[in-house]
């Protein structure tokens, strides 16, 4: 007798562990009969999870935290017993913006501080000549993309709320908007940065691992009430996705994994783009320049799948920094308790291990200390304007 589950996902490469768990039969082996529902917006995924149409979902980590806090939306406590992905986003600029930044850069082109300072000079020059402010797109107000983009530009002295326009765009619209000139740059997950490069309209400026070494990008999210009622089912789901994440990271399985993800009802994009994403080898410019990074996207390796509450705290700190949430000890506690390494350990019978060193260090500002969010935030010059 198997348990039927409905799980929502957005067609992105970082849904891989969920897709492989189902399509490779790992979920069935755990006694789960999973129906994956491909969705078109994070709002849909969130709402369908919140009202119980989905038992679980592939979700932006900050959305899980915002739901639990009841920020900007209905309060529904969400738990994340499993990280589906760390990192995987990139910041892409239009050819014109890329050229402008490279014209101003004083340092290494892959150093985010150098590019951010160059961006500040581009922004200042545009203002002096009376041009429109630059427009950057990201995928959702509560998204790592939003925070990574803001963190990067603010480090160079660009105020993301005052000096540029930040807009939400659904990922499939990003590249077209770059072509039409509606946006000058964006931060988005795979495969859309590569699509922009392949079409010769964009240059990848940064992998987000340049900004923060490890960012909890997507989680396997469930309602707290559901988790409490279905502990065995949840544990089985965690085991199935962990098995899938291990399978994905094994190089021998690459062809099969790419084939599964490329299916039209799954991620549904060109297999070669998916392969480059999984290998962390991305063409960053249309001239063929390739950049490789072991940190580009972590799905199963380096203990990426085990939720780290300090990561949730960092994301909460970003919400506070940009005026989305008030700073309070209680809210911090709520945010951190979204991440449930105990459920992860319980399902996989693993023992708690120390966090990898340098887990929460970014290219600017002090190392993050979850016990002193206020002190951490005070170290940053650019913060939101007063409401």
């Amino acid at each position: 007798m198997s348990t039927a589950l409905h799980i929502g996902f957005i067609p992105l490469v970082d849904a891989a562990a969920l897709i492989v768990a189902v399509d490779k039969g790992f979920a069935a082996a755990e006694g789960l009969d999973v129906t994956l529902a491909r969705e078109v917006s994070w709002s849909n995924v969130r709402d369908k999870l919140n009202i119980g149409l989905f038992d679980a979902a592939h979700l932006l980590t900050p959305v899980a935290i915002a739901s639990s806090l009841g920020v900007a939306h209905v309060k529904v406590p969400i738990l994340a017993p499993f990280n589906l992905a760390l990192n995987g986003n990139a910041i892409t600029g239009s050819s014109a913006l890329h050229a402008a930044i490279m014209g101003e850069i004083d340092g290494d082109r892959f150093d985010p501080l150098a590019t951010a300072r160059a961006l500040a000079r581009v922004v200042a020059a545009r203002r002096r000549s009376g041009q429109e402010p630059l427009t950057f797109a990201m995928t959702f107000p509560f998204s790592t993309h939003n925070y990574q983009l803001r963190f990067w530009m603010a480090a160079g002295g660009v105020d993301p709320d005052e000096d540029v326009r930040l807009v939400v765009l659904p990922p499939p619209y990003m590249v077209d908007s770059l072509v039409s000139g509606h946006v000058d740059g964006f931060c988005v997950g795979a495969p859309w940065n590569s699509v922009a490069v392949d079409r010769g309209v964009g240059h990848i400026l940064h992998f987000v691992s340049d900004i923060l070494v490890r960012a909890a990008e997507k989680v396997l999210a469930v309602r707290q009430t559901w988790a409490e009622k279905n502990p065995d089912t949840l544990a089985a789901l965690v085991r199935a996705t962990q098995r899938a994440a291990d399978f994905i990271e094994h190089a021998d399985n690459r062809d099969e994994v790419v084939g599964l993800l490329a299916q039209p009802e799954r991620v549904g994009v060109d297999a070669d783009l998916i392969r480059r994403t999984l290998e962390g080898r991305l063409k960053v410019s249309s001239d063929g320049t390739v950049r490789a990074s072991g940190n580009y996207l972590l799905l199963g390796r380096e203990r990426a799948t085990r939720p780290d509450p300090a990561q949730a705290a960092w994301l909460y700190a970003q919400m506070v920094r940009w005026g989305q949430a008030p700073l309070s000890g209680e809210a911090l506690k709520t945010a951190m308790s979204v991440f449930r390494p105990d459920l992860y350990d319980g399902a996989l019978k693993t023992s708690i291990q120390p966090r990898p060193s340098g887990a929460i260090s970014a290219f600017a500002g002090p190392d993050f200390d979850p016990d002193d969010v206020a002190g951490y935030l005070a170290a940053f010059k650019v913060s939101p304007r007063a409401p």
Binding site: V40, W42, D47, I51, A72, H73, V168, P170, Q324
Partner: protein, 196 residues
């Protein structure tokens, strides 16, 4: 907006037919200020310019995420907008999700004023879905008609049958094989193409 004025409603929908059905329904019900936006580029700019009290958007529209930006504290926002996901009203949430529509309303607009708009929206969305189904069924019936005609033609030519005889042969084969005539016709076409 004063309390007794008709609320200003924006419909965000890339399907012109569904938007027209909904717009008509709302007008019939006495809602006069209804605007349809079908162009997703610069969606927020248009919404801010229109300054609506209610926004209706279909759930298949990826631009729902764009609307989420309205909740953000930023200079672009004129007044807070809340989404119609009130946990106290599970039945209407379920009905709207089933129908495939969601609504955003200006904070402060009374619930009893929103309910009829949402109910109407749900019933029109369902009517549209039914229409789509019927259309799809008609289309596939037409397709099947064409396939049967082609198969008849093949049988007439290869076996020297009249049109009626060809049809009888198709029908009796279908009955014997417990299949639809359309399926038998399709296999005749496939076979004849392979044997060409």
């Amino acid at each position: 907006m004063s309390a007794d004025q008709s609320p200003k409603i924006v419909i965000v929908d890339e399907s012109p037919i569904r938007a027209a059905i909904l717009q008509e329904g709302l007008r019939e019900a006495g809602y006069t200020g209804v605007v349809h936006i079908s162009e997703m580029q610069s969606l927020l700019t248009r919404i801010y310019a229109l300054d609506p009290d209610v926004i209706l958007i279909d759930l298949e529209n990826p631009s729902r995420d764009v609307l989420e930006q309205m909740f953000q504290v930023s200079r672009a926002v004129r007044r807070p907008i809340a989404m119609f996901v009130d946990q106290s009203d599970a039945a209407s949430i379920q009905a709207s999700v089933d129908a495939g529509v969601s609504a955003y309303i200006v904070d402060g607009l009374k619930k009893e004023r929103i309910k009829p708009i949402l109910d109407l929206c749900v019933s029109r969305f369902n009517a549209f879905a039914k229409l789509q189904d019927e259309l799809a069924r008609t289309r596939s019936a037409l397709e099947e008609r064409k396939v049967i005609d082609r198969a008849k033609g093949i049988l007439m030519k290869m076996k020297g049958l009249t049109e009626d005889e060809a049809y009888v042969l198709l029908r009796s084969t279908a009955m014997r094989e417990k299949k639809r005539i359309g399926e038998i016709a399709q296999s005749i076409i496939t076979a004849s193409e392979m044997l060409k």
